[in-house]
């Protein structure tokens, strides 16, 4: 299994390398000299030259590229052009918040989506199936910021059940932290819930037609056990695949959730870096996002083995 995982990671190296190069190029094709952006239009030529030599921008492009790669290999993403803070520190500070939110979104999506899908498949054309259909249609139709604004309006502003500002709760206050995470996670997980319900329903419909389910029925296994143990286990592989694919979408959509609920995170960092034209921070964030997505994809592969033992032998 580990060898399989290792091989999988090795095949990702060329892609990752291309992404790093892209991050390097992107920041350099942006119109405008960073020195003018930071020092202002009135900067003297001497000041600009000093800035260039300090940041290494006066070196030939290939030297800059080699420097960028070698620093990266040592785990150094450089320092922010604006705040002079190490980029890695800024990213690591907010990464836990984005991961917490995204994982909570996945939890909402799966823990609501799977049962809904099973219920719909068992009802198959009945009222429960239709109810789930309408629910998933609604779920799919909410952009992350619309659901976030609506949830905030109804549950925080009008009903007052949840805090309006969802940050600042320390880990020592688990209830408060959970309460402040609930609305963002639900708003982020809503679309995923709809997709998971559909994937589960479709998978269940297929599995319930297969021979081993007929055999289980024939030997008198209770229906509840057939559905939740025998059938669902086979459907979960599809759900895991989907979750892995969708996780990167969730990380992307969390940008909007973070803005609406005013949470710290990678998304707010990206928007801030763009607004302030902090290109070194942006470069680091591009790298961070790509590594995150690549890692999630590799982890998804690892999960296959846990859900479906047949994968290991292949």
């Amino acid at each position: 299994m580990l060898r399989y995982f290792g091989r999988r990671v090795l095949t990702l190296i060329p892609t990752l390398f291309a992404v790093l190069t892209l991050a390097f190029v992107l920041v350099r094709i942006v119109p405008g000299d960073p020195a003018l952006i930071i020092l202002g239009d009135q900067a003297t030529p001497e000041a600009i030259a000093r800035f260039h030599s300090e940041t290494g921008l006066d070196l030939p492009i290939w030297q800059q590229y080699l420097g960028f790669l070698s620093e990266l290999l040592r785990g150094d993403l450089g320092v922010s052009m604006i705040s002079n803070r190490p980029v890695l520190t800024s990213i690591m500070e907010v990464l836990p918040y984005t991961l917490e939110l995204s994982l909570a979104g996945v939890a909402v999506g799966v823990s609501f989506g799977v049962p809904l899908g099973v219920i719909a498949a068992r009802s198959n054309g009945g009222w429960a199936d239709w109810a789930v259909r309408i629910l998933t249609l609604g779920g799919l139709s909410f952009p992350a910021f619309v659901s976030a604004v609506m949830l905030l309006l109804v549950f925080s502003v009008w009903l007052g059940w949840f805090p309006v500002i969802s940050t600042g709760k320390p880990i020592t206050d688990p209830v408060g932290r959970l309460m402040s995470l609930a609305l963002p996670a639900f708003s982020l997980g809503l679309v995923m819930m709809a997709y998971v319900a559909r994937v589960t329903r479709g998978g269940m419909m297929n599995v319930m037609r297969s021979d081993f389910i007929r055999t289980a029925r024939a030997k008198g296994v209770p229906a509840r056990r057939i559905v939740w143990k025998h059938a669902l286990r086979n459907v979960l592989l599809g759900v895991v695949t989907f979750t892995g694919l969708y996780f990167s979408v969730l990380i992307g959509n969390s940008v909007l959730t973070e803005i609406v609920f005013n949470r710290p995170g990678l998304g707010k960092l990206v928007v801030g870096a763009l607004e302030r034209r902090d290109y070194t921070l942006l470069q680091g964030l591009v790298v961070a996002y790509a590594i995150l997505v690549v890692l999630v994809n590799a982890l998804t592969d690892l999960c296959y083995g846990a859900v479906d033992p047949r994968v290991k032998t292949e």
């Binding site: 604004v149 979408v249 959509n253």
Partner: protein
């Protein structure tokens, strides 16, 4: 999946699955598109006309959905916002469909080095969450509707590319394509006359589903402040303006949100229906 008997009376004509969804979705979209097209005739006010005397008006006979902090009519702004949203979504999806299908068929049919390079580029594109890629591309290209369309098209490209590539890979091995080669048809003729038409059904279904995603991306970017530049009214931008006054005037956020929802529901219904009609196995 061969349930139909070989002989016997011809089966009764049944409506294809997804028929209801297509009709309802299409009806919604017809109304939305008409509203956007005839916005200048329907809108009771100039969407850009400011009036310091009419700030934050509640809904009334004059301002159907109220007015914003510059005294601009919310209903008129939503109508004009629909135009930008629909145009951006349509143009970017068509752009992604054309380029993605072309690249996918080239990749799948040609194979070899061409396939490896295009696939590698596609992998790089897919190493970023779609929303993040959209944000960064728009920011780098600069504001403007055309740049917005290009950015959304780039983020949607992989969906079409992968579908067209796998279709072309499968079709390439078919006997009738071999027959075409033996007959000495040029690659261009084989691709344009025999492979492209085979993939079009699937591509149009995906395009309908991705239209909804394009609307989602456009309105999200506008919400962040990366949409069509002001003073243009965009649905996402209207929600943002409303969000900034959420505690005092929640209606300003609610109405444009509902407009986005209606568009999304219409497109999703149409996409789902078309998919079910195209591939009956996915439905009940």
């Amino acid at each position: 999946m061969n349930d139909a008997p070989e002989t016997g009376p011809p089966p009764r004509k049944v409506r294809s699955p997804g028929w209801h969804a297509i009709v309802i979705g299409a009806s919604i979209m017809v109304v939305v598109i008409l509203a956007a097209l005839f916005a200048p005739l329907i809108a009771p006010h100039d969407p850009y006309a400011q009036s310091m005397l009419a700030r934050f008006r509640p809904p009334s006979a004059e301002y159907w959905l109220g007015s914003d902090r510059f005294g601009r009519d919310t209903f008129s702004r939503i109508l004009y916002g629909l135009r930008i949203t629909l145009w951006t979504a349509l143009a970017s999806t068509v752009m992604a469909m054309v380029t993605g299908t072309a690249a996918g068929i080239l990749s799948g049919y040609h194979g070899g080095r061409v396939d490896r390079w295009i696939s590698a580029a596609n992998d790089v594109l897919m190493s970023f969450p779609q929303m993040v890629a959209g944000i960064i591309i728009v920011a780098l290209l600069g504001p403007g509707v055309t740049n917005l369309i290009i950015a959304i098209a780039i983020t949607t490209f992989p969906a079409f590319y992968r579908m067209a590539r796998s279709a072309a890979l499968a079709l390439r091995e078919r006997d009738y394509i071999d027959a075409c080669r033996v007959l000495g048809y040029s690659d261009l003729r084989i691709v344009s006359r025999h492979i492209l038409p085979e993939t079009m059904d699937d591509m149009i279904v995906i395009a309908t589903l991705w239209l909804a995603t394009a609307v989602r991306t456009e309105s999200s970017l506008a919400f962040i402040g990366l949409g069509a530049p002001p003073p243009a009214a965009t649905l996402g931008g209207l929600v943002r303006e409303g969000f900034d006054n959420l505690l005092d005037f929640p209606g300003l956020a609610i109405w444009p949100s509902l407009a986005i929802l209606v568009v999304m529901i219409g497109l999703n219904l149409m996409g789902d229906g078309l998919r079910d009609a195209n591939d009956p196995r996915t439905s009940a």
